[in-house]
Amino acid sequence: MFLNAWSLALTLTSIAGIVLGGIACRTAIRVLRHWNPASDSELQIRLEGEIWLSSTLVAYGLGFQIVSLILFVLAADEFCKVIVGAMCATGSLLANSYGMPALLVKLVGVFFYGFWIVLHQLDIRSESYPLVRTKYLYLLLLYPLMAADVTLQTLYIAGLKPDIITSCCAVVFAAATGGGTNLLTLGSENLQLLLYYLTMVLLLGLGGLLLWRWNRWLQALYAVGWFWFFGLALVVITNVISSYIYAMPYHHCPFCLLKPEYHYIGFAIYGTLIGGAFLGSSAGLVEPCKRRAGLAEVVASYQKRAVQISLILLLLFAALTSYHYLLYMASGGEV
């Protein structure tokens, strides 16, 4: 279903992303082959200039990726109007086997591009660019991810078969069975909520402890904790929290939160969650960079700032996700 404004916009954004990525990778290959900080040849000076180009390109790539991620979910929501049996974005993403993987790759992409930008920002703070090789090797590894993203998205769009009336017989009933499909069904609601809030308290405690007294192991635990919390939060939002926001007990959908009917609350929820998870985990991931020449201080200050902001985002996220649940409980609701 390519002849549709949404499919075209998605494809256009992806093409823009992959072309910019291609240019950045060309720089990456040149840097990996010819980089020599000791030299002052013309090539080296040109390469130092090109570093700016590649970083700008990746920054744009990240921006496009975020746009593409949001666009993809909104497009899925739009597609559900023409697909048999689909009632919202969940239905259209499950319409063929490429929808969910494409979404996942896009989401992962946001993290990976973001990490690259963090590395780059740390790198340029030092006179000697100690992370250049790591950074560009990483950039080259990002390209397959970009390619996978475009491929999955294209396959997904190509595989969408809209349900339209054919001239012979109009009846397509086979697929119309079944009501709302729920994405995940897991354990009891209370158990999930308990785990969710427990992890949140744990993360807050760890973050506070880290800010008070820095420790490498605590730092690693904090990063791992955020990864775990990110996955858990997505499950809990889908299974438990979403239905309180919709005020419909049987509607468990992580995507309808992004709709205007719910005041776009999803953007705030996912924005704080992704932002928090990114900063919280990146603070741990940059730890090995401390050993590079001239980076110890820069990395330490980044880590501190990242942990601080991630804690603030966590609190915001907690408030956003708990509000409807608490409101329901306070007004005498039953579990």
Binding site: A5, S7, T13, G49, V67, K81, C169, A170, V171
Partner: protein, 395 residues
């Protein structure tokens, strides 16, 4: 944090003044870009508005329509078929309907003639859509006409007019009322009359109708009931309302997609223009950047300035293009593109379109226009930013 913000504000300030200094060049880009955005946005808004209108109109149509097929063509359906459906639970009513097209040779226009039964569950909905009296049969059947028909035939309520039967005898009718403008998409070219009158006009035997409308109480049962009907009446085509709705959605989506593909050429032309404008650095601009570098600006700062410039140009063009598109669609009824989306019929429904603009549409338009613009200007921006400081001395 504050100093970084301040720095960006200063860069933004500089970017604004730089834009103003080159206002002719940037103004040209804004105008062309706004025109491209205007085209894309108009199409998108018209599609949204049409889909919404179709959805609203279809909400009152019967849940299932049964048509008899013979040799792949639609034929009149015997009323006896309705009897066979009695045993299916969940059906509220089965109502016959007669409809067809009437070609007016004098005006070269096609009218849609619809004969409805008085026991149709939504008869009151129909009468609510009418200004004037109600339909009725008798010597000179009372009919309700759409606005386009009333204009074409210069009819007023209470007036008498006649149409030809297939055997060229004349059938006289009185105009009982005219449909309200809100339903123009469906009723502009419509002449609605009682079932008997329509049969008389088309000379269809009393035992037959064009199709059968099936009304169902519970919308969740539409699929199951449709399946049962298609098993019971194998020589029929069973159309359900959700399917018709989806088809409309696909058709409008397809048309707007097709239009967007055509507009891609305009977008590509614009991208080439933007690329060209951004990469052709005048000696003056080179000098400017070189002086900035001597003053202590870094490549990153110049890049940031270029980014702000691009962002401002794109933002301004986007606002301008979208506003114009909205005005075009809402106040001028999208007069530029309506034929493409609505059809080429002689009697055009005079639509009043009021698209419901949400964040979704805005993001779609941004991705369609601003993303390509930013993508093509990034490499030229870097090239400009990497002008060496010493070139100011040589120039």
């Amino acid at each position: 944090m504050n100093s970084a913000l301040e720095k960006h504000l200063n860069i933004l300030d500089y970017a604004l003044s730089a834009l103003w200094r080159h206002r002719l060049k940037n103004g040209g880009i804004v105008v062309v870009f706004a025109a491209v955005i205007f085209l894309v946005a108009s199409f998108q808004l018209v599609t949204t508005a049409l889909t919404e209108t179709a959805g609203k109109v279809l909400a009152v149509t019967p849940e299932i329509t049964i048509q008899r097929m013979s040799a792949g063509r639609q034929e009149a359906i015997p009323l006896a078929y309705a009897e066979k459906l009695h045993d299916i639970f969940g059906i509220r009513a089965v109502v016959p309907r007669v409809w067809g097209y009437y070609f007016d040779e004098v005006r070269g226009a096609n009218y849609t003639v619809l004969g409805v039964s008085a026991d149709m569950p939504q008869a009151d909905e129909l009468s609510r859509a009418v200004v004037g009296g109600v339909m009725g049969s008798g010597g000179q059947g009372k009919v309700v006409v759409g606005r386009a028909v009333s204009q074409a035939l210069q009819l007023q309520p209470g007036q008498l007019f006649s149409l030809f039967r297939p055997n060229l005898s004349l059938k006289a009718m009185t105009v009982a009322g005219i449909f309200r403008p809100e339903t123009d998409l469906l009723t502009a070219d419509l002449i609605a009359m009682p079932l008997v009158e329509a049969r008389d006009l088309f000379l269809i035997p009393a035992s037959k109708a064009t199709d059968l409308c099936v009304y169902i109480s519970n919308p969740a049962e539409i699929g199951t009931i449709a399946e049962k009907i298609s098993k019971l009446l194998p020589d029929t085509r069973v159309l359900t309302r959700p399917q018709i709705q989806k088809t409309y959605q696909v058709v409008f989506g397809w048309r707007s997609g097709f239009a967007s593909v055509c507009l891609l050429a305009a977008l590509a032309a614009f991208a080439i223009l933007a690329w060209d404008k951004a990469s052709g650095l005048s000696p003056e601009e080179r000098r400017e950047i070189a002086i900035l570098k001597i003053l202590g600006w870094e490549t990153a700062d110049v890049l940031a300035m270029r980014f702000w410039e691009g962002g401002l140009v794109a933002g301004l063009a986007f606002l301008l293009g979208c506003t114009l598109a909205y005005l075009h669609v809402v106040f001028f009824g999208a007069s530029l593109f309506r034929p493409v989306l609505v059809g080429w019929s002689v009697l055009h429904p005079a639509l009043s379109l009021a698209p419901h603009v949400t964040l979704k549409e805005v993001l779609l338009l941004l991705a369609f226009t601003v993303v390509p613009y930013l993508a093509v200007t990034v490499v030229p921006a870097w090239r400009a930013a990497s002008v060496p400081a010493e070139s100011a001395l040589s120039g």
